[in-house]
Amino acid sequence: MSARPITEEDLHGYIDRVLDPAREAEVSAYLVAHPDVATRINGYAQQRTDLRAALAPIADEPLPPELDLARMIARQRRPRQTSWGAFAAAAAVLLCLGGVGGWSLHGVGQSTREGVAAVAQEAADNYAVYAPDPSRPVELRATDRAELVSWATERLGRPVTIPDLAASGYRFMGGRIVTTGHGPAAMFMYDDDRGTRLLMLTRPMAATDRDAPMTAHAQAGINGYAWADNGLGYSLVGPAAPDRLHPLADEVRRQLSRAI
Protein backbone atom coordinates (compact mmCIF):
# COMPACT_ATOMS: atom_id res chain seq x y z
CA MET A 1 0.00 0.00 0.00
CA SER A 2 1.20 3.50 -0.70
CA ALA A 3 0.77 5.62 2.42
CA ARG A 4 0.59 9.40 2.29
CA PRO A 5 3.99 10.94 3.00
CA ILE A 6 4.62 11.76 6.65
CA THR A 7 4.75 15.50 7.29
CA GLU A 8 6.33 17.52 10.06
CA GLU A 9 2.78 18.32 11.16
CA ASP A 10 2.08 14.60 11.52
CA LEU A 11 5.13 14.26 13.74
CA HIS A 12 3.95 17.04 16.04
CA GLY A 13 0.45 15.63 16.00
CA TYR A 14 1.93 12.32 17.03
CA ILE A 15 3.65 13.94 20.01
CA ASP A 16 0.51 15.84 20.99
CA ARG A 17 -1.69 12.79 20.43
CA VAL A 18 -4.14 14.42 18.10
CA LEU A 19 -3.86 12.00 15.14
CA ASP A 20 -6.54 9.52 14.29
CA PRO A 21 -5.51 5.93 15.10
CA ALA A 22 -4.78 4.97 11.50
CA ARG A 23 -2.44 7.90 10.94
CA GLU A 24 -0.84 7.38 14.32
CA ALA A 25 0.01 3.81 13.32
CA GLU A 26 1.57 5.05 10.09
CA VAL A 27 3.71 7.59 11.92
CA SER A 28 4.70 4.92 14.41
CA ALA A 29 5.85 2.62 11.61
CA TYR A 30 7.72 5.51 9.98
CA LEU A 31 9.60 6.23 13.20
CA VAL A 32 10.65 2.60 13.55
CA ALA A 33 12.11 2.79 10.08
CA HIS A 34 13.82 6.17 10.70
CA PRO A 35 15.70 6.04 13.99
CA ASP A 36 17.26 9.48 13.52
CA VAL A 37 13.85 11.10 13.24
CA ALA A 38 12.64 8.94 16.11
CA THR A 39 15.40 10.27 18.36
CA ARG A 40 14.32 13.83 17.69
CA ILE A 41 10.63 13.03 18.16
CA ASN A 42 11.34 11.17 21.40
CA GLY A 43 13.20 14.23 22.59
CA TYR A 44 10.20 16.40 21.81
CA ALA A 45 7.86 13.96 23.52
CA GLN A 46 10.02 13.93 26.64
CA GLN A 47 10.12 17.72 26.53
CA ARG A 48 6.32 17.81 26.38
CA THR A 49 6.03 15.49 29.38
CA ASP A 50 8.57 17.51 31.34
CA LEU A 51 6.98 20.86 30.54
CA ARG A 52 3.59 19.64 31.65
CA ALA A 53 5.03 18.17 34.82
CA ALA A 54 7.12 21.26 35.61
CA LEU A 55 4.15 23.59 35.25
CA ALA A 56 1.48 21.36 36.73
CA PRO A 57 2.05 22.51 40.34
CA ILE A 58 0.88 26.05 39.49
CA ALA A 59 -2.54 24.73 38.52
CA ASP A 60 -2.71 22.77 41.77
CA GLU A 61 -2.27 25.77 44.03
CA PRO A 62 -5.31 26.91 45.97
CA LEU A 63 -6.91 29.99 44.44
CA PRO A 64 -6.43 33.34 46.17
CA PRO A 65 -9.63 35.06 47.33
CA GLU A 66 -9.47 37.76 44.66
CA LEU A 67 -10.02 35.11 41.99
CA ASP A 68 -13.41 34.10 43.38
CA LEU A 69 -15.53 34.09 40.23
CA ALA A 70 -18.89 33.70 42.00
CA ARG A 71 -18.20 36.85 43.99
CA MET A 72 -17.15 38.75 40.86
CA ILE A 73 -20.36 37.79 39.11
CA ALA A 74 -22.44 38.89 42.10
CA ARG A 75 -20.58 42.19 42.31
CA GLN A 76 -20.88 43.06 38.61
CA ARG A 77 -24.57 42.19 38.45
CA ARG A 78 -25.73 44.24 41.35
CA PRO A 79 -25.53 47.76 39.87
CA ARG A 80 -27.48 46.95 36.74
CA GLN A 81 -30.03 44.50 38.00
CA THR A 82 -33.02 46.80 37.65
CA SER A 83 -33.75 50.09 36.01
CA TRP A 84 -34.42 51.31 39.52
CA GLY A 85 -30.77 50.64 40.25
CA ALA A 86 -29.71 52.76 37.28
CA PHE A 87 -32.04 55.51 38.38
CA ALA A 88 -30.62 55.44 41.88
CA ALA A 89 -27.09 55.61 40.47
CA ALA A 90 -28.03 58.62 38.33
CA ALA A 91 -29.62 60.29 41.32
CA ALA A 92 -26.47 59.65 43.34
CA VAL A 93 -24.39 61.35 40.64
CA LEU A 94 -26.70 64.35 40.66
CA LEU A 95 -26.48 64.55 44.42
CA CYS A 96 -22.73 64.25 44.21
CA LEU A 97 -22.42 66.96 41.57
CA GLY A 98 -24.72 69.17 43.59
CA GLY A 99 -22.61 68.66 46.67
CA VAL A 100 -19.39 69.38 44.85
CA GLY A 101 -20.88 72.42 43.19
CA GLY A 102 -22.03 73.76 46.51
CA TRP A 103 -18.60 73.27 47.92
CA SER A 104 -16.79 75.06 45.13
CA LEU A 105 -19.32 77.90 45.27
CA HIS A 106 -18.69 78.15 48.92
CA GLY A 107 -14.95 78.13 48.43
CA VAL A 108 -14.57 80.54 45.54
CA GLY A 109 -17.69 82.60 45.59
CA GLN A 110 -18.04 82.67 41.84
CA SER A 111 -20.22 80.54 39.63
CA THR A 112 -17.73 78.26 37.90
CA ARG A 113 -19.47 75.02 38.68
CA GLU A 114 -21.41 74.56 35.46
CA GLY A 115 -18.14 75.10 33.65
CA VAL A 116 -15.93 72.34 35.05
CA ALA A 117 -18.86 70.09 35.95
CA ALA A 118 -19.65 70.10 32.23
CA VAL A 119 -16.03 69.22 31.40
CA ALA A 120 -16.19 66.37 33.92
CA GLN A 121 -19.36 65.08 32.31
CA GLU A 122 -17.86 65.25 28.83
CA ALA A 123 -14.77 63.38 29.98
CA ALA A 124 -16.87 60.64 31.59
CA ASP A 125 -19.04 60.35 28.48
CA ASN A 126 -16.02 60.02 26.24
CA TYR A 127 -14.49 57.53 28.63
CA ALA A 128 -17.61 55.38 28.31
CA VAL A 129 -17.31 55.47 24.51
CA TYR A 130 -13.58 55.16 23.88
CA ALA A 131 -11.95 53.45 26.87
CA PRO A 132 -13.66 50.06 26.33
CA ASP A 133 -12.97 50.19 22.60
CA PRO A 134 -10.76 47.17 21.90
CA SER A 135 -9.64 48.10 18.41
CA ARG A 136 -9.32 51.87 18.20
CA PRO A 137 -9.47 53.65 21.55
CA VAL A 138 -7.32 56.44 20.15
CA GLU A 139 -6.98 57.83 16.65
CA LEU A 140 -3.38 58.94 16.86
CA ARG A 141 -1.07 56.74 18.86
CA ALA A 142 1.66 57.76 21.27
CA THR A 143 4.19 57.46 18.46
CA ASP A 144 2.36 60.27 16.65
CA ARG A 145 2.55 62.56 19.64
CA ALA A 146 3.82 65.57 17.73
CA GLU A 147 1.04 65.29 15.17
CA LEU A 148 -1.54 64.95 17.93
CA VAL A 149 -0.23 68.06 19.69
CA SER A 150 -0.34 70.14 16.55
CA TRP A 151 -3.81 68.86 15.66
CA ALA A 152 -5.15 69.65 19.13
CA THR A 153 -3.43 73.03 19.21
CA GLU A 154 -4.97 73.94 15.88
CA ARG A 155 -8.50 72.80 16.77
CA LEU A 156 -8.52 74.26 20.27
CA GLY A 157 -6.83 77.45 19.18
CA ARG A 158 -4.52 77.16 22.17
CA PRO A 159 -1.15 75.51 22.81
CA VAL A 160 -1.88 72.04 24.15
CA THR A 161 0.50 69.94 26.24
CA ILE A 162 0.22 66.21 26.80
CA PRO A 163 0.90 65.35 30.44
CA ASP A 164 3.31 62.51 31.15
CA LEU A 165 2.10 60.03 33.76
CA ALA A 166 4.73 57.36 33.17
CA ALA A 167 6.29 57.98 36.56
CA SER A 168 2.93 57.18 38.12
CA GLY A 169 2.63 53.96 36.15
CA TYR A 170 0.37 55.19 33.35
CA ARG A 171 1.61 54.96 29.82
CA PHE A 172 0.43 57.48 27.26
CA MET A 173 -1.55 55.62 24.57
CA GLY A 174 -2.52 58.46 22.25
CA GLY A 175 -5.58 60.57 21.67
CA ARG A 176 -8.00 62.28 19.35
CA ILE A 177 -10.20 65.32 18.96
CA VAL A 178 -13.70 64.70 20.28
CA THR A 179 -16.89 66.67 20.14
CA THR A 180 -18.57 68.22 23.17
CA GLY A 181 -21.54 70.52 23.67
CA HIS A 182 -18.96 73.30 23.96
CA GLY A 183 -17.00 72.66 20.80
CA PRO A 184 -13.96 70.48 20.11
CA ALA A 185 -11.94 68.98 22.95
CA ALA A 186 -8.65 67.10 23.01
CA MET A 187 -8.81 63.65 24.55
CA PHE A 188 -5.70 61.83 25.75
CA MET A 189 -5.71 58.25 26.95
CA TYR A 190 -3.37 56.41 29.28
CA ASP A 191 -3.21 52.87 30.58
CA ASP A 192 -1.33 51.03 33.25
CA ASP A 193 0.17 47.59 33.00
CA ARG A 194 -3.11 46.02 34.08
CA GLY A 195 -4.96 47.60 31.19
CA THR A 196 -6.75 50.15 33.38
CA ARG A 197 -7.34 53.21 31.26
CA LEU A 198 -7.44 56.86 32.22
CA LEU A 199 -8.72 59.62 30.03
CA MET A 200 -7.91 63.30 30.12
CA LEU A 201 -10.08 65.79 28.32
CA THR A 202 -9.29 69.43 27.79
CA ARG A 203 -11.10 72.25 25.99
CA PRO A 204 -11.34 76.05 26.12
CA MET A 205 -13.71 77.48 28.73
CA ALA A 206 -16.16 80.34 28.50
CA ALA A 207 -14.79 83.71 29.63
CA THR A 208 -16.56 83.44 33.00
CA ASP A 209 -15.06 79.99 33.74
CA ARG A 210 -11.41 80.62 33.00
CA ASP A 211 -10.18 79.36 36.34
CA ALA A 212 -11.78 76.87 38.68
CA PRO A 213 -10.49 74.86 41.63
CA MET A 214 -10.17 71.11 41.36
CA THR A 215 -13.35 69.26 42.21
CA ALA A 216 -14.19 65.57 42.43
CA HIS A 217 -16.83 63.92 40.29
CA ALA A 218 -18.25 60.45 39.84
CA GLN A 219 -20.45 58.99 37.16
CA ALA A 220 -21.44 55.33 36.81
CA GLY A 221 -18.33 53.96 38.45
CA ILE A 222 -16.02 56.45 36.70
CA ASN A 223 -14.30 58.85 39.04
CA GLY A 224 -12.92 62.13 37.95
CA TYR A 225 -11.25 65.39 38.94
CA ALA A 226 -11.92 68.54 36.97
CA TRP A 227 -10.49 72.03 37.08
CA ALA A 228 -9.76 75.02 34.86
CA ASP A 229 -6.59 77.09 34.51
CA ASN A 230 -5.98 80.06 32.24
CA GLY A 231 -9.04 79.47 30.14
CA LEU A 232 -8.61 75.74 29.56
CA GLY A 233 -10.83 73.23 31.35
CA TYR A 234 -9.47 69.81 32.26
CA SER A 235 -10.87 66.59 33.57
CA LEU A 236 -9.02 63.40 34.39
CA VAL A 237 -11.33 60.41 34.69
CA GLY A 238 -11.01 56.66 35.15
CA PRO A 239 -12.15 53.68 37.14
CA ALA A 240 -9.35 54.17 39.71
CA ALA A 241 -10.38 54.99 43.27
CA PRO A 242 -10.55 58.71 44.11
CA ASP A 243 -7.55 58.48 46.44
CA ARG A 244 -5.50 57.04 43.57
CA LEU A 245 -6.83 59.45 40.98
CA HIS A 246 -6.47 62.64 42.99
CA PRO A 247 -2.64 62.67 43.12
CA LEU A 248 -2.58 61.91 39.38
CA ALA A 249 -4.81 64.92 38.71
CA ASP A 250 -2.54 67.04 40.90
CA GLU A 251 0.43 65.80 38.92
CA VAL A 252 -1.24 66.64 35.60
CA ARG A 253 -2.11 70.09 36.86
CA ARG A 254 1.41 70.65 38.07
CA GLN A 255 2.92 69.67 34.72
CA LEU A 256 0.48 71.83 32.77
CA SER A 257 1.02 74.88 34.91
CA ARG A 258 4.73 74.48 34.37
CA ALA A 259 4.21 74.22 30.62
CA ILE A 260 2.21 77.45 30.35
Binding site: E8, E9, H12, G13, D16, V18, R40, G43, Y44, Q47, R48, D50, L51, R52, A53, A54, L55, P57, I58, A59, D60, E61, L63, P64, E66, L67, L69, A70, M72, I73, Q76, R77, A166, G169, Y170, R171, D191, D192, D193, R194, G195
Partner: protein
Protein backbone atom coordinates in the same frame (compact mmCIF):
# COMPACT_ATOMS: atom_id res chain seq x y z
CA UNK B 1 -24.41 33.50 34.68
CA UNK B 2 -24.70 30.19 36.44
CA UNK B 3 -23.69 28.75 33.14
CA UNK B 4 -20.62 30.96 33.15
CA UNK B 5 -19.60 29.90 36.62
CA UNK B 6 -19.79 26.25 35.59
CA UNK B 7 -17.80 26.74 32.43
CA UNK B 8 -15.18 29.23 33.55
CA UNK B 9 -14.47 28.47 37.18
CA UNK B 10 -12.73 25.13 36.54
CA UNK B 11 -10.39 26.91 34.10
CA UNK B 12 -9.04 29.47 36.57
CA UNK B 13 -6.07 27.33 37.70
CA UNK B 14 -4.98 26.91 34.08
CA UNK B 15 -5.42 30.64 33.41
CA UNK B 16 -3.10 31.32 36.34
CA UNK B 17 -0.56 28.92 34.96
CA UNK B 18 -0.53 30.49 31.51
CA UNK B 19 -0.34 34.01 32.93
CA UNK B 20 2.40 33.17 35.40
CA UNK B 21 4.53 31.39 32.85
CA UNK B 22 4.35 34.40 30.53
CA UNK B 23 4.78 37.15 33.12
CA UNK B 24 7.06 35.20 35.49
CA UNK B 25 5.61 37.03 38.45
CA UNK B 26 3.00 35.49 40.69
CA UNK B 27 1.10 38.56 41.82
CA UNK B 28 1.25 40.32 38.45
CA UNK B 29 -0.11 37.14 36.87
CA UNK B 30 -2.95 36.86 39.36
CA UNK B 31 -3.83 40.51 38.80
CA UNK B 32 -3.98 39.76 35.10
CA UNK B 33 -6.25 36.75 35.65
CA UNK B 34 -8.49 38.85 37.85
CA UNK B 35 -8.72 41.50 35.15
CA UNK B 36 -9.45 38.78 32.61
CA UNK B 37 -12.23 37.27 34.73
CA UNK B 38 -13.82 40.65 35.31
CA UNK B 39 -13.88 41.34 31.59
CA UNK B 40 -15.26 37.87 30.98
CA UNK B 41 -18.09 38.46 33.45
CA UNK B 42 -18.89 41.76 31.74
CA UNK B 43 -18.84 40.30 28.24
CA UNK B 44 -20.26 36.86 28.83
CA UNK B 45 -23.67 37.69 27.38
CA UNK B 46 -22.13 39.10 24.18
CA UNK B 47 -19.95 36.05 23.69
CA UNK B 48 -20.64 34.07 20.55
CA UNK B 49 -21.60 30.50 21.25
CA UNK B 50 -18.78 28.09 21.06
CA UNK B 51 -15.59 27.30 22.83
CA UNK B 52 -15.60 29.07 26.19
CA UNK B 53 -12.11 27.85 27.01
CA UNK B 54 -10.59 29.29 23.82
CA UNK B 55 -12.63 32.45 24.37
CA UNK B 56 -11.31 33.15 27.85
CA UNK B 57 -7.74 32.24 26.94
CA UNK B 58 -7.99 34.74 24.09
CA UNK B 59 -8.92 37.48 26.56
CA UNK B 60 -6.10 36.49 28.89
CA UNK B 61 -3.55 36.23 26.11
CA UNK B 62 -4.43 39.68 24.77
CA UNK B 63 -4.19 41.21 28.23
CA UNK B 64 -0.84 39.52 28.76
CA UNK B 65 0.50 40.86 25.48
CA UNK B 66 -0.73 44.37 26.28
CA UNK B 67 1.02 44.16 29.60
CA UNK B 68 4.25 42.78 28.23
CA UNK B 69 4.34 45.40 25.50
CA UNK B 70 3.74 48.41 27.69
CA UNK B 71 7.49 48.66 27.78
CA UNK B 72 7.71 51.87 29.79
CA UNK B 73 6.09 50.19 32.75
CA UNK B 74 7.66 46.84 32.13
CA UNK B 75 8.74 45.17 35.34
CA UNK B 76 12.41 44.42 35.68
CA UNK B 77 13.27 41.13 34.15
CA UNK B 78 13.46 38.32 36.63
CA UNK B 79 15.63 35.50 35.43
CA UNK B 80 13.51 32.42 35.72
CA UNK B 81 16.22 30.59 37.61
CA UNK B 82 16.04 33.22 40.35
CA UNK B 83 12.32 33.68 40.37
CA UNK B 84 11.54 30.05 40.28
CA UNK B 85 11.39 29.21 43.94
CA UNK B 86 8.56 31.61 44.40
CA UNK B 87 7.10 31.77 40.92
CA UNK B 88 7.06 28.09 40.19
CA UNK B 89 6.64 26.76 43.70
CA UNK B 90 7.15 23.07 43.53
CA UNK B 91 8.94 20.30 45.28
CA UNK B 92 9.45 17.48 42.82
CA UNK B 93 12.09 14.83 43.17
CA UNK B 94 15.57 16.32 43.25
CA UNK B 95 16.68 15.04 39.88
CA UNK B 96 13.48 16.05 38.10
CA UNK B 97 13.59 19.42 39.81
CA UNK B 98 16.98 20.13 38.29
CA UNK B 99 15.84 19.18 34.82
CA UNK B 100 12.60 21.16 35.12
CA UNK B 101 14.55 24.18 36.24
CA UNK B 102 16.76 24.03 33.16
CA UNK B 103 13.77 23.44 30.94
CA UNK B 104 11.84 26.42 32.32
CA UNK B 105 14.95 28.55 31.92
CA UNK B 106 15.19 27.51 28.28
CA UNK B 107 11.45 28.09 27.83
CA UNK B 108 11.88 31.58 29.18
CA UNK B 109 14.53 32.34 26.57
CA UNK B 110 12.26 31.38 23.69
CA UNK B 111 10.81 34.24 21.65
CA UNK B 112 7.39 35.09 23.03
CA UNK B 113 5.60 34.03 19.85
CA UNK B 114 7.08 30.54 20.10
CA UNK B 115 6.56 30.28 23.83
CA UNK B 116 2.84 31.07 23.60
CA UNK B 117 2.26 28.46 20.90
CA UNK B 118 4.18 25.84 22.82
CA UNK B 119 2.32 26.54 26.07
CA UNK B 120 -1.13 26.49 24.50
CA UNK B 121 -0.56 23.41 22.36
CA UNK B 122 1.32 21.26 24.82
CA UNK B 123 0.77 22.43 28.39
CA UNK B 124 -2.80 23.69 28.05
CA UNK B 125 -3.76 20.97 25.58
CA UNK B 126 -5.41 23.13 22.94
CA UNK B 127 -5.76 21.67 19.47
CA UNK B 128 -3.67 23.37 16.78
CA UNK B 129 -6.82 24.97 15.37
CA UNK B 130 -7.80 26.32 18.80
CA UNK B 131 -4.28 27.61 19.34
CA UNK B 132 -4.51 29.42 16.02
CA UNK B 133 -7.83 30.94 17.08
CA UNK B 134 -6.59 32.09 20.50
CA UNK B 135 -3.52 33.72 19.00
CA UNK B 136 -5.33 34.98 15.89
CA UNK B 137 -2.71 33.52 13.56
CA UNK B 138 -2.99 31.03 10.68
CA UNK B 139 -2.70 27.32 11.37
CA UNK B 140 0.47 27.10 9.31
CA UNK B 141 2.09 29.70 11.54
CA UNK B 142 1.15 27.68 14.61
CA UNK B 143 2.86 24.65 13.11
CA UNK B 144 6.04 26.45 12.15
CA UNK B 145 6.33 28.19 15.51
CA UNK B 146 5.68 24.96 17.38
CA UNK B 147 8.31 23.24 15.32
CA UNK B 148 10.89 25.97 15.93
CA UNK B 149 10.08 26.12 19.64
CA UNK B 150 10.59 22.40 20.13
CA UNK B 151 13.77 22.32 18.12
CA UNK B 152 15.27 25.25 19.96
CA UNK B 153 14.30 23.96 23.38
CA UNK B 154 15.79 20.56 22.65
CA UNK B 155 19.01 22.15 21.42
CA UNK B 156 19.33 24.34 24.49
CA UNK B 157 18.73 21.43 26.81
CA UNK B 158 21.36 19.34 25.02
CA UNK B 159 23.89 22.14 25.19
CA UNK B 160 23.06 22.75 28.82
CA UNK B 161 23.64 19.12 29.60
CA UNK B 162 27.05 18.91 27.97
CA UNK B 163 28.20 22.27 29.36
CA UNK B 164 26.99 21.89 32.92
CA UNK B 165 30.01 21.62 35.18
CA UNK B 166 28.32 19.22 37.54
CA UNK B 167 26.97 16.99 34.80
CA UNK B 168 29.39 14.14 35.43
CA UNK B 169 29.08 14.27 39.17
CA UNK B 170 25.33 14.11 38.97
CA UNK B 171 25.46 11.12 36.74
CA UNK B 172 27.77 9.19 39.06
CA UNK B 173 25.48 9.46 42.05
Amino acid sequence: MKDMLHQIEPLIPTLRRYARTLLRDRSAADDLVQDCLERAVGNWSQRKDGNARAWIFTILHNLAMTRLRSSSTRPHHIAIEDAQDDTFAQAPAQEDGMRYRELLGALDRLPEEQKTVLLLATVEGFSYAETAAVLAIPLGTVMSRLSRARERLLKEMDEGRSNAPGAHLRRVK
